[in-house]
């Protein structure tokens, strides 16, 4: 039940003072944590100042139009009731069946005294709609709408801050509702809410296989973990969220098998050396990746199952070889696609890679240039990694991981005399990840063997 100070915030290093331009809340008003309570203005900037804590705005020290130094106390908030207690405490409260949780409990008589008799202006939202709005987030309201759930049915059951209905609450309600639509606030139900794990289908109950199927292939949910004192919490941006979801789905749907092979790059090196002058006259840079992409595009022609995707009970063998090439943006990653790579010459592929990589780094790729890949090449080797075991992008059946190309001591046999000798060769370990539903181990191995041969005997006229 503490009295919380609201200081003039530091809005920037070179900002020493701020002017209160507008109070959005009056003394005695109830404010949620992070709800805007006033606006301040400094040079060319208007800023909303959020409440540091939920409670009642008990005192306004600085009036509209007044300018004060950063750090000056401009208001006080009086914490009251369960709404201000830590989320951990809520569980204890919730577990007591005879004390239903409310959005925020009514203040007791002595609390009334401390908030200077202003408690009557604490919003006791009169309409259900207002209460719902105050006790749920926009995300939850949208979800509820999508599922046709009337949020008023969850009133008093919110486990979030200030009794707000969280996404988890709603999901549990949706799950419970199907089995027991008429369930009221009985003891066990409350217990379920406090320990969500027990609300999940247990092995003791017969579970419809389709439920498991839904859980397995349905929405991706990332478990949450407690935050400790010195931690920083960063919300994932959209790209990160989509990536996270994509990775989870890709990994759980396709049974991954990884096969590794070591490839000699002497011939590739030779090709690059022999053509250096020619290529520089043409103004094109032909990277190792270009040579690998060329070899992969040709090898894929003989392995339709690696240029395919499982789709329901069908396999779709793709009619084009569209090679995705992962480009590191540091931070982030994008996979531009070389369309019909198997129709392009080595120089054609090289030009395309340079163009796509440049525009990827300049953030200038069109949406169609990052879609429709049928097989992917990723190259963790450029950062020195020996070899990676990549995840197969959703909707494809294979991905090749290129390892670092390093000089190694190897034993070679003379093709004529069969005499062994120790030589120094540029070698690299390549990995192939493939969807074991539609690609058999032997085919994965054959693909790698063919690719190895293609690179070790790279043709002159590519």
């Amino acid at each position: 039940m503490a009295r919380i100070e609201v200081p003039m915030p530091q809005m920037g290093e070179s900002i020493a003072e701020g002017t209160v331009s507008k109070w959005l809340k009056k003394v005695g008003d109830w404010v949620e944590r992070d709800e805007a309570i006033l606006e301040i203005s400094t040079d060319k900037v208007d800023a909303e100042i959020p409440a540091p804590q939920a409670g009642v705005l008990s005192e306004v020290v600085v009036n509209e139009g007044e300018t004060v130094e950063v750090g000056t106390i401009i208001a006080y908030i009086q914490e009251t009731g369960a709404g201000a207690s830590a989320p951990g405490d809520l569980a204890t409260v919730a577990a007591t069946p005879d004390r239903p949780i409310e959005g925020y409990s009514r203040p007791s008589a002595d609390e009334d005294d401390r908030v200077a008799g202003k408690s009557e202006s604490r919003p006791d939202p009169s309409t259900t709609e207002e209460r719902i709005t105050q006790r749920s987030t926009p995300v939850v309201r949208r979800m509820a709408e999508e599922h046709g759930v009337d949020l008023s049915a969850l009133e008093g059951r919110g486990s979030g801050h200030g009794g707000r209905v969280t996404k988890q609450d709603l999901l549990e309600y949706l799950g419970d509702g199907e089995r027991d639509p008429g369930a009221g606030e009985s003891g066990p139900r409350v217990a379920n809410r406090v320990t969500p794990l027990s609300a999940r289908p247990s092995l003791a109950e017969p579970v419809d296989a389709s439920t498991l199927w839904d859980a397995f292939y349905g929405d991706v949910q990332h478990p949450e973990f407690p935050i400790r004192d010195r931690d920083e919490v960063v919300t994932m941006d959209k790209v990160r969220r989509l990536t996270a979801e994509h990775m989870v789905i890709a990994k759980r749907i396709a049974p991954h098998v990884h096969s590794l092979i070591e490839i000699d790059f002497s011939r590739v090196d030779e090709i690059r050396r022999d053509n250096r002058v020619l290529w520089s006259e043409e103004g094109v840079r032909v990277s190792f990746t270009a040579l690998v992409a060329w070899a992969v595009s040709r090898t894929l022609r003989d392995f339709p199952m690696l240029n395919a995707t499982a789709s329901g009970n069908n396999v779709i063998a793709r009619g084009n070889v569209n090679l995705g090439i992962a480009v590191d943006l540091d931070p982030g990653l994008i996979v531009p696609v070389i369309r019909d790579a198997d129709d392009l010459s080595l120089v054609g592929i090289a030009k395309k890679i340079v163009d796509l990589a440049q525009r990827a780094r300049a953030r200038r790729l069109g949406p169609e240039e990052i879609q429709g890949g049928t097989f992917t090449i990723t190259n963790p080797g450029v950062l020195g990694t020996l070899v990676g075991l990549p995840i197969i992008p959703k909707g494809t059946s294979g991905i090749l991981g290129a390892g670092a190309i390093e000089k190694k001591v190897v034993v070679v046999s003379d093709p004529v005399t069969d005499a062994d000798s120790i030589v120094i060769r540029k070698r690299s370990i390549f990995s192939l990840a493939y969807d074991h539903r539609i690609v058999d181990g032997a085919d994965g191995a054959r693909f790698l063997a063919n690719l190895k041969q293609m690179l070790e005997e790279f043709p002159d006229d590519a």
């Binding site: 809005m11 900002i15 400094t42 060319k44 208007d46 926009p138 941006d237 790209v239 982030g332 953030r363």
Partner: protein
Amino acid sequence: MVEVRWLGSVPYQEAVDLQDDLVDSRRAGSIPDQLLLLEHPHVITLGSASDSSHVLVGLEERRELGVELFETGRGGDVTYHGPGQIVGYPILDLKPERKDVHRYLRDLEEVLLRAIHTFGVEGARVEGHTGVWTGDGKIGAIGVRVSSGWITSHGFALNVDTDLSYFTTIVPCGNPDRGVTSLASLLGHPVPTQSVITAIQDAFAQVFDATILRADGLP
């Protein structure tokens, strides 16, 4: 990542409502950072620091000119928006690394400085007068709002091919001593809107070190 959206001409009130929605969505984390680029039909807007005497035309005259008037929740004084002026509304989450509104203003100035540099126009900052200035007057105006949770809205306006006579209806940003200018009047020829948009987009990517996703139209 920043989604850049060219929205064409958008009435002022619509743009304000759109920004309110996007600020909420950005705060909830349901959308990435946004940079809205658009034009407004003729409108005079009053920032929180506005002096109403800086609007020099009465209701009748405004009606004749087809100029609307709005009080708005951004910082700064009076300004004019209209066709030929590209307005940028970044809806950004400044947390955790950019929680400094002065730095944010300087960054927006930098975006405009770099964008006009693309066309060979050298602008400058003037101490104490946020905005982008050239020898011939002010070319870029800035006024922003930071909502609860360090989410930005409002932003900047760059005169590309603006009919500068409309600025006589106000005292721009409360500063009677300095004129206004535009890219076209400085260069002596028209500048295609799309090239300015690309220049702003590139400058924004550099200054805010952001990946740009061009996603025209509404989110």
